[in-house]
Symmetry: D2
Subunit: 170 residues, 4 copies
């Protein structure tokens, strides 16, 4: 049985439509309901709700909370998948990368352009890919979505194309 | 073959999520794609895109456009279904009611609390019911959704319950 | 609050795919799960599981069981929707029609060509229409599906077209 | 742009329900419709329809056809995903393994327990995982589904559990 930690922090992937306001926002975590659509007979996915924020509203203190949770889990020797808003996903990835220089675990950041359960959503695809990547990729911090794997320091979100694209390492 | 006119005016039922802005709004009409999920072997549904507005932004002039389109179709002797935002659906229904005193056709107003294609949407249910009601109800102006039929002058939207409720006729 | 009885007897609408046999068959009733997708705020739908059979395997004794259940519910003065296999739906409808000459209630028979939950299924549409018809049609026995209403003695299934078509009353 | 060949051979993943016969069988390939639900902005997936058979009906000659197609594509230096019935997927995998001793490409076999588009289907998950695995796994022949990766010679289908389980290498 492969243990995987799934840390949720909010972002579009978990946003919901409010019938009272007509707004799409992070209200309650809903990833468990969608995770249950996947068949993972020899994986044990433990969901940890860390935050529930639009990533544009994340501050340094939020990234410290995420880092702190990741640190506390590293001793379990299990891969970690973090769902996160796409707008500052790279920023959080870089923060983890700088703060965990001797990392020996696999950490995957993922998210979605359209919320889980909305037509045309990429959420379940990205969750599927990330849980798979968590098992097959080696140590490091990666952004995984849309069939792609990016090291956290070689990627940026292209807001016009609404996807992630590689950048040359500085 | 039963001819039915389906007039679209926007509203939540046809709203879509924008990946660039994160906002749910009326952009392009999408009812044809969802209508194609229904089996209506002896109905011919003609879609007429009249407006594409959040009903809170509708003005008197918009209601005149809807009324004008309805009037132009009455001679076809076919029932008319109008998809509309729920917030001012009753207002539009009352305007049609006052403006068409000798109405001999069936006119159905419907909409949705959650857009078509979003999880938990009531849009396809309401569209199904309205197209059915258009064939079996007699002349009059009705609001049809959630398994309910309301004469246009005996209903209001309850924004707390997020549904329509009957009112006593004044 | 409108009370509606929903009697299930099996048929394609409730069939499920077996991963062990690769066969689609009536195993467990699944209509409650799909019914919960509909918003019916002022309806109370009571599900009564009567049978769970492919309608080609129904015998006279099965139709007696259905008739008996219908008779026992008539005093409740609530409309009745019966989900049923399409192949012998008309036969059951005619049996009810002959056996209930003084019927003063609305009885709707419905079903599906493709099981609920399979892509392209007409099941939820037909269930939606039938529950709506149960509230708006007058007394009689009707087959309701695909946007159509047929008196039970004026309809046949066209197996080539995979739909119901009207017949002249004999 | 990553080129991936997707060879379809039939199996449950591509089966469809026939409204005329009530049987689930391999009729027309339908993987393209479901593939289009995935966002793969830097992948080019070329679908090659090789066979369309229940894998229990596959004969040696069918496996030769699959092998022949694989051989003809190896020079393209692109990974290959093969959709296949689960009952004899391992047999085909072993045939490829024995016939391609100097394999330097990644070949993934996948399938589903429930057809694509049926409720509860594992088809899209397995397709997602396999296309991802095709990009990140090294050379070899693997069975990928349900979050798992098995070398073709270390796996068997457990028909009671309806999943694949590892076997010790002989």
């Amino acid at each position: 049985m492969q243990l995987i930690y799934l840390l949720t922090t909010g972002g579009t992937i978990e946003k919901a439509y409010s019938e009272k306001t007509g707004v799409v926002a992070n209200a309650h975590s809903k990833i468990d309901r969608h995770l249950s659509l996947l068949r993972l007979p020899d994986s044990q996915v433990k969901i940890v709700q860390v935050l529930n924020k639009d990533s544009l509203e994340m501050e340094d203190s939020d990234r410290e909370i995420i880092l702190s949770m990741v640190k506390s889990l590293l001793s379990r020797r299990a891969p970690i998948v973090i769902t996160h808003g796409t707008d500052t996903m790279v920023q959080t990835g870089l923060h983890l990368l700088r703060s965990l220089p001797a990392l020996n675990s696999t950490i995957i950041l993922t998210g979605a352009m359209t919320p889980l359960g909305f037509e045309g959503s990429d959420g379940l695809q990205n969750l599927t890919e990330s849980l798979f990547a968590a098992r097959v990729l080696g140590p490091g911090i990666f952004i995984v979505l849309h069939g792609q794997v990016f090291p956290a320091d070689r990627v940026r979100k292209d807001r016009v194309l609404v996807r992630f694209v590689p950048i040359e390492q500085g």
